[in-house]
């Protein structure tokens, strides 16, 4: 069994950079999804937010990863607005608090970070699975990650499965009728469209996979 490589602040920074380039590349697609059942700003929102995060984290490479996550969360709250800003903002802050001032974290701690992020989103947004929100991508990803890590998988491998679960969850939002957020105003007309927030969440998981794989 290979020795598990420690994840650290650099991993968090590279995660945020990966998110930033990924949502920037998919900006128009995310906005288009949000135009169908929302107000057409999701791509701009997350691009603006993660660009600010990357900037805020610049030169903070040696800070403990928990602090970096908290700073990233705060930056999202302060720059995104909308629904996704507070949701992913408090998610990253809660995730960061799990790590305290620890200079590194392992696979099990990563599970706890993402579980705290999920709990925070669910508490703030009061969304349950099946409501057609980012929760539908994040919850299956956290469950999968927890299971794989418990079964002894390496973080990068476990994240590959988790990201796939997020994508499956994202795709599964298509037939749902939205019960939370703007899309809920559409009633039955929300059926047949993929949730933008679940889509960016799947991108965020894939970005994490890449960041962790690169750290290993």
């Amino acid at each position: 069994m290979p020795i598990e490589q420690a994840l650290n602040g650099a991993t968090v920074i590279s995660w945020m950079r990966e998110i930033e380039s990924s949502v920037r590349a998919q900006r128009d697609y995310l906005t288009q999804l949000d135009s169908a059942i929302g107000d057409g700003d999701h791509g701009t929102n997350v691009t603006r937010g993660f660009a600010s995060v990357v900037e805020a984290l610049n030169g903070e490479k040696d800070a403990p990863p928990g602090r970096l996550l908290i700073l990233a969360g705060r930056t999202l709250v302060s720059t995104v607005g909308g629904a996704s800003g507070p949701l992913w903002g408090s998610a990253l802050r809660s995730g960061g608090r799990v790590l305290g001032d620890s200079p590194t974290f392992d696979g099990q701690q990563l599970v706890e970070v993402l579980a705290a992020a999920l709990a925070s989103i669910k508490e703030l947004g009061a969304a349950a699975p099946g409501d057609k929100t980012m929760v539908d991508a994040l919850e299956p990803a956290v469950d999968k990650l927890r299971g794989e890590v418990a079964a002894g998988a390496q973080p990068a491998a476990a994240l590959a499965s988790a990201a796939a679960a997020a994508e499956a969850g994202m795709e599964a939002t298509v037939p749902l009728q939205a019960r939370k957020g703007r899309a809920s105003y559409l009633g039955e007309r929300s059926i047949g469209h993929q949730d933008p927030g679940a889509t960016s969440t799947a991108l965020i998981l894939r970005a994490l996979e890449r960041a962790v794989a690169a750290s290993s």
Partner: protein, 338 residues
């Protein structure tokens, strides 16, 4: 259908909101100032010691809401987000601090997930700083069912009326509870319903949010360019107003003989000639329904960029609300008696 192209007076799409606010401040230095660092619009003479302050905010693209309602007898500050995007808590916190005169601050929050969450975070921070904040959520849009299966009713036209009426209460020296209760009362006694004849084009997106096939309209729209509850054939103005009045009145259910304020609001791209034509129908139908529109407001007050469309808000008046409505107001967007 061919794609409608963006034709806007702007420089960089990313700076539309900031540049427009700079224009607002340049035009009305006697009423307000624009703090571009904090991205807030603040009443010139704020904070006023002992006066309850009112702030509101939300995505931009709804002008004159909210920045255009800062001034005497209305808002003490406005927090404009990006176009159709809720502002961030930092803005609401900065605004709350800038206007607090010791008597507390009322947050008027339109009921959208993002607005509610961002305002909530700001209120928590303000409380940490020892400022009394009372947040009231506006949710007057009858197009959305208020059920477990939605984010609840949206806040639309009643927001303008609440800002005016509660602003008058605050100006007259009412305390925090009274001003909050006034906002609540306006919200409880007002209902709205909107209709779109075209989509709008958010500057950052550069294209319409939805396309409407020829001769169709969206019924039950909000103010963020989002599609409505359903599509219908564009009927006559009389038929459209039937739908609006029926939707609003069947929910509001004011007793016969009630006095109401009828607010016919343009969404930004519908000219005044049409709004007055709609008002003719509204006035007639409200009277036929047994209520008397003793006050009215007709024009573009809570808009969706250049969307063609209109909304109807009916406020069930009482003596108090009527008196506060008639009280002087002097803001860029609403002015009388001053």
């Amino acid at each position: 259908m061919a794609e409608t192209k963006m034709r806007k007076f702007m420089n960089d799409p990313a700076n539309v909101v900031k540049e427009s606010l700079a224009g607002l401040a340049a035009a009305h230095p006697n009423l307000l100032r624009y703090d571009s660092a904090a991205q807030i619009v603040v009443r010139k003479d704020a904070p006023k010691q002992g006066k309850v302050a009112l702030i509101s905010g939300g995505g931009s693209g709804h002008e004159p809401l909210h920045g255009g309602f800062v001034g005497l007898g209305m808002l003490d500050a406005a927090c404009p987000g990006e176009v159709f995007t809720s502002p961030v808590p930092d803005q609401m916190l900065a605004a709350t601090k800038a206007v607090d005169g010791g008597a507390g601050v009322v947050h008027i929050v339109k009921n959208y997930t993002g607005d509610v969450m961002n305002f909530k975070m700001a209120a928590e921070d303000a409380a940490d700083d020892g400022i009394k904040v009372s947040a009231i959520v506006i949710d007057d849009d009858v197009a959305v069912q208020d059920s477990l299966y939605t984010a609840g009713r949206r806040g639309v036209g009643a927001t303008v009326l609440a800002e005016k009426i509660a602003g008058a209460a605050a100006e007259s020296g009412a305390d925090l509870t009274t001003v909050s209760d006034t906002v609540k009362r306006v919200n409880e006694r007002a209902r709205s319903f909107g209709v779109a004849l075209s989509s709008c084009i958010p500057p950052a997106a550069g294209k319409p949010i939805f396309d409407l096939p020829e001769g169709e309209i969206e019924l039950g729209i909000g103010i963020h360019g989002e599609p409505g509850r359903r599509r219908a054939q564009l009927g006559s103005a009389a038929e459209v107003v039937d739908v609006m009045v029926e939707a609003v009145m069947s929910d509001l259910k004011p007793s016969r003989g009630s006095q109401v304020l009828a607010f016919v609001n343009g969404m930004g791209g519908t000219p005044l000639i049409e709004l007055y034509l709609l008002y003719a129908e509204v006035d007639r139908k409200l009277r036929a329904a047994g209520v008397e529109p003793v006050r009215n407001l007709i024009g573009d007050y809570i808009t969706s960029l250049e969307m063609a469309g209109a909304s109807l808000t009916v406020l069930h008046l009482d003596d108090d609300l009527l008196r506060l409505w008639d009280a002087p107001v002097h803001t860029p967007g609403l002015r009388w008696g001053a």
